[in-house]
C-alpha cells in the first residue's frame, strides 16, 4: 500500500486544488455574500451561533459534549460579518476537510479519492448558498477526519499502549465534537474491522454509545424533555444534527466504505491505460466540474437570497441599492416587503412624495404585511426600525422584545437596538445592562464599550446625535391601548412634533394611497415648516384631484401647482373622457383607459386615484 503525503502531490494537482479554492473563495465572497447571513435577523435568530469573549461563555462551552467544536464554530462564524473574511473561513474549512478526507481515503485504500474528496466542501458550498450556516458542519467533519487519521496512527502502536490510547481518543472526540463522536466511531470501525483485534469491537461499541444521544436529540426533538438526563449527556446542544450534517457524515462514511472500489475505478480509468490517461483525466475534471456547477445551479436559492439581501440593504440604509434592486424586478416579483423597503428608500432620498407612484403602489404599501411564520423576523424587525425612526419608541421596544423572546440565538444588532430604545426612553441604567452584555461581542463589543464610557461620563443618549433626534420626536403623551392600536398612534407623533417629517409624509401619503382626499387636504391646509421647497409632485396632483372631485383647493391652486402639471392633468382628463365616450360602460372604460393611458400617465397620482394602480409603463411590459 503506498501512502502519499501532501508534499508528494504533483504540482499540477496542487495547482488545480489551489485554483478550486480560489474559485470557491471568489464564489462565496462575491456571489453568496456571507455578510448577508450574519446580518439576517432570521438566520441569526434561528441558527447562527452567538459568541462571547467572556470566560463564562468558554466555561459553558466546556461543560457539555460538542461544546468545544461549538465554541470554535461560533468563533469562526463571526467572520461572516465581512464578506471576504467569511469567504476565507469557509474556504479554509473546505480545504481542511478535503485534505484530511483525502488523507484518510489514501490511508484506507492506498489511493487518492480524487475529486470525490471534494464532496464535503461542495456540500458546504451548497449549504452556504442556501443561506444556512455551514461552518459547524465543516468544523466537525474536519475534526472528525483529522482525529480518524490519529486513530489510524494509533493502530500501529503496541497493543498495550493502544488499549489505553484508543478509548481516550474516543472520549476526547465525543467530548470535543458531540455528534461527531458518532461519525468518528463509524469511520474508525470501518478502518479497524480488518485488524484481528478487539479494536473493531471497541469502535462498534463507540457507535452504539454515541448514536443514542444523537438519535435521541435529533429524532425526538419534538419531545425535548426526553433529551435531558440520559446516561450519556445532560445537554443536547452538541447533539442535534441538521440534514446537511447527516448528509456530510453520510458522504464521508460512504466514501470511506467504498474507498477501495473508488480507487480501483480511478486506477482503471487513469493508470492502467497510460495512453488514454490524459484525455480521461481531462474528461474526469470536466465531468467533476460540471457536476459541481450543476449542483450549485440546482440548489441555489434565489428567493432566500432576495429575502436576506433586502434585509441587509435596509439595515445598512443602502437606499440606492434598494431602488436599483426594485428596478430589476418584475411586477409579480414585487412583494409587500419589497414595496415597503422601496418607499422607505424613496423617503430617505427625499423623493417619496415625488416619485412613489412611479412604482406599483397599493393602499398598504407604506405599512408592513402581517408577518407569517416564514417572514416573522424580518418583517417585525422592519416594523420596529420604522417605529423607532418615527418616534413610536414603545412600539419599537415591544417588537424588539418580542423578537428577543423568540430568537434562539441573540443577534447583537437586536440587543444594541434594545439598548438604544432604553437610552431614548431615558433609562440609561437599563441601556447599560444591554451594553454590558454586548461588550463581550466580537462585532458590537467596541461600540458597546464606547457607549458605556460615554454613559459613565454622563452623556445624555450616549452622546449619539441620532438618538437625541429620535428622542426629540418620540411620543411623550401616554395613552393606554391594546396591542392592535399601538400601531395606530401616528397622531400622537404629530402632536409631539408637528415637524416630524417622516410621520407627516407617511401620514399624508397614506391618505393618498387610500384615496382619502379630504383628509389629505386637511393635512395640507396646516402644513409644517419643511423649508421653502415647492409642493411635491404627487401632492400637487392630488390637489388637482381635490378640485376636480369636490371643488376644494381652488384658491390655492395657482400658487401651489405648476402650470405644466395642470396641463398634464387636463390632458389626462380629456383622454379619459374620450375613451369613456367610446366605451359601453364604466368598467370597460376603466380597463381600456388604464391600458392606453398607462404609458403616459402611469407614474402620476391621478392615474392611481382613478385606476387603483400605478407605475411607469416598464412595470407592465
Amino acid at each position: 500500500m503506498s501512502h502519499k503525503t501532501l508534499g508528494q502531490y504533483r504540482p499540477a494537482r496542487a495547482m488545480s486544488f489551489a485554483a478550486l479554492l480560489v474559485a470557491h473563495f471568489l464564489y462565496v465572497q462575491l456571489h453568496v455574500r456571507p455578510d448577508f447571513l450574519f446580518n439576517s435577523i432570521e438566520v441569526f435568530g434561528s441558527s447562527f451561533p452567538n459568541f462571547s469573549t467572556s470566560r463564562r461563555f468558554l466555561v459553558d462551552a466546556l461543560s457539555y459534549p460538542g461544546g468545544v467544536a461549538g465554541y470554535l464554530s461560533a468563533l469562526l462564524s463571526q467572520a461572516y460579518v465581512s464578506a471576504w473574511l467569511g469567504a476565507l473561513v469557509t474556504t479554509v474549512l473546505a480545504a481542511a476537510v478535503t485534505v484530511t478526507l483525502e488523507h484518510l481515503a489514501r490511508r484506507q485504500s492506498g489511493s487518492s479519492a480524487g475529486l470525490l474528496a471534494l464532496g464535503p466542501a461542495l456540500l458546504g458550498l451548497i449549504v452556504v448558498q442556501r443561506y444556512l450556516l455551514a461552518v459547524p458542519m465543516l468544523v466537525n467533519l474536519t475534526l472528525v477526519t483529522a482525529c480518524s487519521l490519529v486513530f489510524l496512527s494509533l493502530l500501529q502502536w503496541p497493543s498495550r499502549w493502544r488499549i489505553a490510547a484508543i478509548p481516550l481518543l474516543f472520549a476526547a472526540v465525543y467530548y470535543v465534537t458531540g455528534w461527531g463522536g458518532c461519525l468518528f466511531s463509524l469511520v474508525t470501525t470501518m478502518a479497524a474491522v480488518k485488524s484481528r483485534t478487539l479494536v473493531p469491537l471497541v469502535c462498534g461499541l463507540g457507535v452504539l454509545f454515541t448514536a443514542y444521544p444523537v438519535l435521541q436529540s435529533t429524532l425526538l426533538v419534538e419531545d425535548p424533555s426526553l433529551q435531558y438526563g440520559s446516561l450519556f449527556h445532560v445537554d443536547n446542544r452538541g447533539m442535534v444534527v441538521h440534514w446537511y450534517d447527516l448528509a456530510g457524515a453520510g458522504y464521508v462514511v460512504a466514501l470511506l466504505a467504498s474507498a477501495r472500489a473508488c480507487a480501483a475505478f480511478l486506477d482503471t480509468c487513469f493508470r492502467r491505460a497510460p495512453r488514454a490517461a490524459l484525455w480521461r483525466r481531462t474528461a474526469g475534471w470536466v465531468v467533476g466540474l460540471s457536476t459541481v456547477v450543476a449542483c450549485l445551479t440546482v440548489t441555489y436559492d434565489q428567493h432566500r437570497r432576495d429575502f436576506v439581501e433586502s434585509e441587509y440593504l435596509v439595515r445598512r440604509g443602502a437606499w440606492d441599492a434598494i431602488r436599483a434592486k426594485t428596478d430589476m424586478r418584475q411586477i409579480d416579483q414585487l412583494t409587500a416587503v419589497n414595496l415597503f423597503d422601496l418607499n422607505l428608500a424613496l423617503f430617505h432620498q427625499g423623493v417619496l412624495s415625488e416619485e412613489m407612484f412611479r412604482y406599483p403602489q397599493n393602499p398598504r404599501a407604506l405599512a408592513l404585511p402581517t408577518p407569517t411564520r416564514v417572514d416573522l423576523f424580518p418583517v417585525t424587525l422592519r416594523d420596529a426600525l420604522l417605529s423607532f425612526e418615527l418616534g413610536k419608541i414603545n412600539l419599537a421596544k415591544m417588537m424588539l422584545y418580542e423578537l428577543y423572546e423568540q430568537s434562539v440565538t441573540e443577534h447583537p444588532y437586536l440587543l444594541n437596538a434594545l439598548a438604544e430604545c432604553h437610552l431614548v426612553t431615558g433609562q440609561p441604567a437599563a441601556a447599560r445592562r444591554w451594553y454590558t452584555h454586548l461588550t463581550h461581542d466580537l462585532v458590537y463589543g467596541r461600540r458597546a464599550t464606547t457607549m458605556l464610557k460615554r454613559l459613565d461620563e454622563g452623556a445624555q443618549y450616549g452622546a449619539d446625535q441620532r438618538l437625541a433626534e429620535v428622542a426629540d420626536r418620540a411620543i411623550d403623551r401616554d395613552t393606554a391601548v391594546s396591542a392592535r392600536y399601538l400601531r395606530q398612534i401616528s397622531e400622537l407623533l404629530l402632536d409631539k412634533d408637528k415637524d416630524n417629517r417622516m410621520a407627516w409624509e407617511y401620514r399624508v401619503n397614506t391618505c393618498l394611497l387610500n384615496g382619502d382626499l379630504r383628509s389629505f387636504y386637511e393635512y395640507l391646509s396646516n402644513p409644517p415648516e419643511f423649508g421653502a421647497r415647492a409642493l411635491p409632485r404627487h401632492w400637487q396632483e392630488a390637489l388637482l384631484l381635490c378640485r376636480e372631485v369636490d371643488g376644494t383647493a381652488d384658491a390655492q391652486l395657482p400658487e401651489l401647482v405648476g402650470s405644466g402639471l395642470q396641463t398634464r392633468f387636463d390632458q389626462f382628463m380629456e383622454a379619459y373622457a374620450r375613451i369613456a365616450q367610446e366605451c359601453t360602460g364604466p368598467a370597460q372604460a376603466n380597463q381600456l383607459a388604464s391600458r392606453l393611458l398607462r404609458k403616459e400617465f402611469g407614474g402620476t397620482y391621478f392615474f392611481y386615484y382613478v385606476f387603483h394602480e400605478s407605475g411607469d409603463e416598464r412595470w407592465y411590459r
Binding site: R56, D223, P224, S225, L226, Y228, G229, K392, N394, L395, K397, M398, Y401, E402, Y404, E405, Q406, E410, L415, H422, T425, G426, Q427, A429, A430, R432, R433, W434, T436, H437, T439, H440, A474, I475, D476, R477, D478, T479, A480, V481, S482, A483, L486, I489, L492
Partner: protein, 509 residues
C-alpha cells in the same frame, strides 16, 4: 493517596498563584477614610448565618485587590485578586458566618493603585443574624415577555452555595409556559405549578409524594391552606394592554375574576361563598398561618363593556384588602370583612402574604390595577395583624417592588425589585426583626458577582423552600404533556358560566 497528594499540590499552586497575582502587605497599605464602592452594594446589610458567599466587584479601579473579612470570632478570611472580582471560598466563608451569628463582620477592602500603592478603605459592616434563611429559593427566570413566550423556566437557587438548578422548563411541554408555583408551607415536596401550552393546554400540576399529577383545570394565583387539604386560587380573565409613552410599556387588567378552592382529598372545586360574585373582582388569596382566615383583594367592576381593552376606567381600579374566616373542621366560611380599604389608602392593595408566625401581613400598594410588577409606584407595606396598623417599609425604591414571600421562620423576606434599572427584576432579601422593622435589602448573592450586570432576563415570583425540589423537571413535564389529566369535579358552576347571585353578595366596596 496519590489523589490526596495531587489535591495538596493543586491547592498549594493555587495559593501561590493568588499570592503572586496581588501580594498584599497591610504594613505598607495606606488607610483612607473613604467608603469603597462595591457591586452589589452589601454595606450595612444583615445576612443570614447560612448565607452563600457575598462575592462582589470592587468599583474602584486598581491593579490589585485584597479583601479581609473578619468577625469577632473565627479566623479572618483573606482573598486577593488581580482583577476586581472578589470571590470567597465557600467553606471558610460559611465557617466565618456561622461563628459570628448574632454579631457583625467587617469587610476590609484594599486596592492597589500603580501610583499610590495599596490603599485600604473604611471597613464595610455586615450584620449576621441569628436566624437562618430557608436554604432554597424557587423563582421564574424569563426574558421580559410581552405577548409571545418561548422560554419560561422555574429554577431553584441554593442560598447557601449560590448553585442554581432547573425545576421545570417550558421546553418540557412544547415551549409552554410554567407559572404560579406555590409550595405548601415552604415545603419542596408538595406544590402546585400551573402550565400553559399551545399543544398540551392549560393545567394545574400537583406535585406530591414524588409524583406529578395533571388536573384538568387551571389555577391562577394559588395559596395552599396550611393544613394541605385544599388550595384557594383565583380565576381570571386577564387582558394585557400597552402604554404609548410610559417606560413600563406593559399593563394588565382582570376583566373578571373570582376566588375558588380545590379540596385535594375530595378532588372538588367550589366557590368561596360570599366572595365569588358578579360586579366585583377578587384575586390574590392568601391564608393566615392558622388556616382560619383567608385574605384576598377585591375591587368593583367599573365598566359596562366587558370586551373593551383597556376599559375606560382602568386607572381607577383599586383593590381593597379583605378577609374571610374559615372553619377547617366543618368546611364552612364566615362573612367577608374589609381589612384595608382602597378608599382609605387611595391605592390598590395587592399580593397579601401572611408571615408563618401569624404576626405580620406583607403586601403591595400601587396607584391602580392588579399587577404590581408593572407599576412603578408599587411598594411593600407591612401590617401588624395584632393591631391592624400598617406602614410603608424602608426597603422600597422608586421602582416597582412586588412578588414577596416569607421564609418559614418569618425572619426573612424575598421580593422582586426593579430598582437597578427599572426594567429587569432582581430578587432581594431582607431581614425582618421581631418588631417588623426591615433591614437594608441585598440582592441574592451570585457565584459570579458580575453575572447580573449583563444578564438580560428577569427573576420573578421568588418563593422560599426548605430544601431542594427533587422531582425532575422532565417528570413534571411528562405530567403536563399527559393527555389523560385527572378530572376535577365542580360543585359550583365555574366563573364563565356562573350566574350572578344576590345571595352571594359581594363584599361592600
Amino acid at each position: 493517596m496519590n489523589l490526596r497528594l495531587l489535591a495538596q499540590v493543586a491547592a498549594g499552586a493555587a495559593i501561590v498563584g493568588v499570592g503572586c497575582a496581588a501580594p498584599f502587605d497591610p504594613g505598607i497599605s495606606v488607610t483612607v477614610d473613604e467608603k469603597v464602592s462595591i457591586a452589589p452594594d452589601y454595606s450595612g446589610i444583615t445576612v443570614p448565618p447560612n448565607c452563600a458567599p457575598l462575592n462582589f466587584v470592587v468599583a474602584t479601579r486598581g491593579s490589585g485587590y485584597a479583601v479581609t473579612v473578619q468577625g469577632v470570632h473565627g479566623t479572618p478570611l483573606r482573598v486577593a485578586s488581580s482583577n476586581s472580582r472578589i470571590v470567597f471560598p465557600l467553606r471558610p466563608w460559611k465557617n466565618l458566618l456561622a461563628g459570628n451569628a448574632g454579631t457583625d463582620i467587617h469587610l476590609i477592602v484594599s486596592v492597589r493603585d500603580r501610583a499610590l500603592g495599596w490603599r485600604t478603605f473604611r471597613p464595610l459592616v455586615i450584620g449576621v443574624a441569628r436566624e437562618p434563611i430557608d436554604p432554597y429559593l424557587a423563582c421564574r427566570i424569563i426574558k421580559p415577555i410581552f405577548r409571545p413566550w418561548k422560554r419560561v423556566g422555574i429554577y431553584q437557587r441554593n442560598l447557601e452555595t449560590s448553585e442554581i438548578r432547573e425545576v421545570v422548563h417550558g421546553r418540557n411541554l412544547g415551549n409552554g409556559c410554567v407559572n404560579c408555583h406555590c409550595f405548601l408551607n415552604n415545603s419542596p415536596d408538595r406544590f402546585f405549578v400551573s402550565t400553559r401550552s399551545p399543544r398540551y393546554g392549560s393545567a394545574a400540576i400537583l406535585v406530591e409524594d414524588g409524583q406529578a399529577t395533571k388536573l384538568d383545570t387551571k389555577f391562577g394565583y394559588t395559596a395552599w391552606h396550611p393544613s394541605g387539604t385544599m388550595v384557594t386560587y383565583s380565576k381570571m380573565q386577564v387582558r394585557q394592554f400597552f402604554h404609548t409613552a410610559r417606560t413600563e410599556i406593559r399593563d394588565v387588567i382582570d376583566l373578571a375574576s373570582s376566588i375558588l378552592y380545590y379540596s385535594v382529598d375530595k378532588n372538588l372545586v367550589r366557590e368561596v361563598p360570599g366572595v365569588a360574585a358578579s360586579g366585583t373582582l377578587e384575586t390574590y388569596p392568601a391564608w393566615a398561618s392558622d388556616g382560619e382566615t383567608l385574605y384576598f383583594c377585591s375591587a368593583p367592576v367599573l365598566w359596562d363593556t366587558p370586551d373593551k381593552v383597556p376599559p375606560d376606567d382602568y386607572a381607577k381600579v383599586k383593590y381593597s384588602l379583605w378577609k374571610i374566616s374559615y372553619n377547617t373542621d366543618i368546611d364552612t366560611w364566615g362573612v367577608p370583612d374589609t381589612v384595608l380599604s382602597s378608599a382609605k389608602t387611595n391605592m390598590s392593595v395587592l399580593l397579601p402574604r401572611v408571615s408563618p408566625n401569624g404576626k405580620f401581613l406583607l403586601f403591595c400598594m400601587c396607584d391602580y390595577g392588579v399587577f404590581p410588577a408593572f407599576q412603578k409606584s408599587s411598594d411593600l407595606y407591612l401590617m401588624d395583624l395584632s393591631t391592624g396598623n400598617y406602614r410603608r417599609l424602608d426597603i422600597n425604591s422608586p421602582e416597582s417592588e412586588s412578588w414577596h414571600c416569607w421564609s418559614s421562620n418569618s425572619r426573612w423576606i424575598a421580593f422582586s425589585s426593579k430598582r437597578e434599572d427599572g426594567e429587569f427584576t432582581r430578587t432581594y432579601l431582607s431581614y425582618i426583626d421581631e418588631n417588623g422593622d426591615a433591614r437594608k435589602p441585598f440582592v441574592v448573592p451570585r457565584k459570579d458577582p458580575a453575572f447580573d450586570a449583563s444578564f438580560l432576563q428577569t427573576y420573578s415570583v421568588p418563593e422560599f423552600i426548605t430544601g431542594p425540589v427533587r422531582l425532575r423537571g422532565r417528570v413534571i413535564g411528562a405530567a403536563a404533556r399527559s393527555d389523560s389529566p385527572k378530572s376535577v369535579s365542580y360543585e359550583q358552576p365555574s366563573m364563565s358560566t356562573a350566574a350572578p347571585s344576590s345571595a352571594n353578595a359581594a363584599p361592600e366596596q
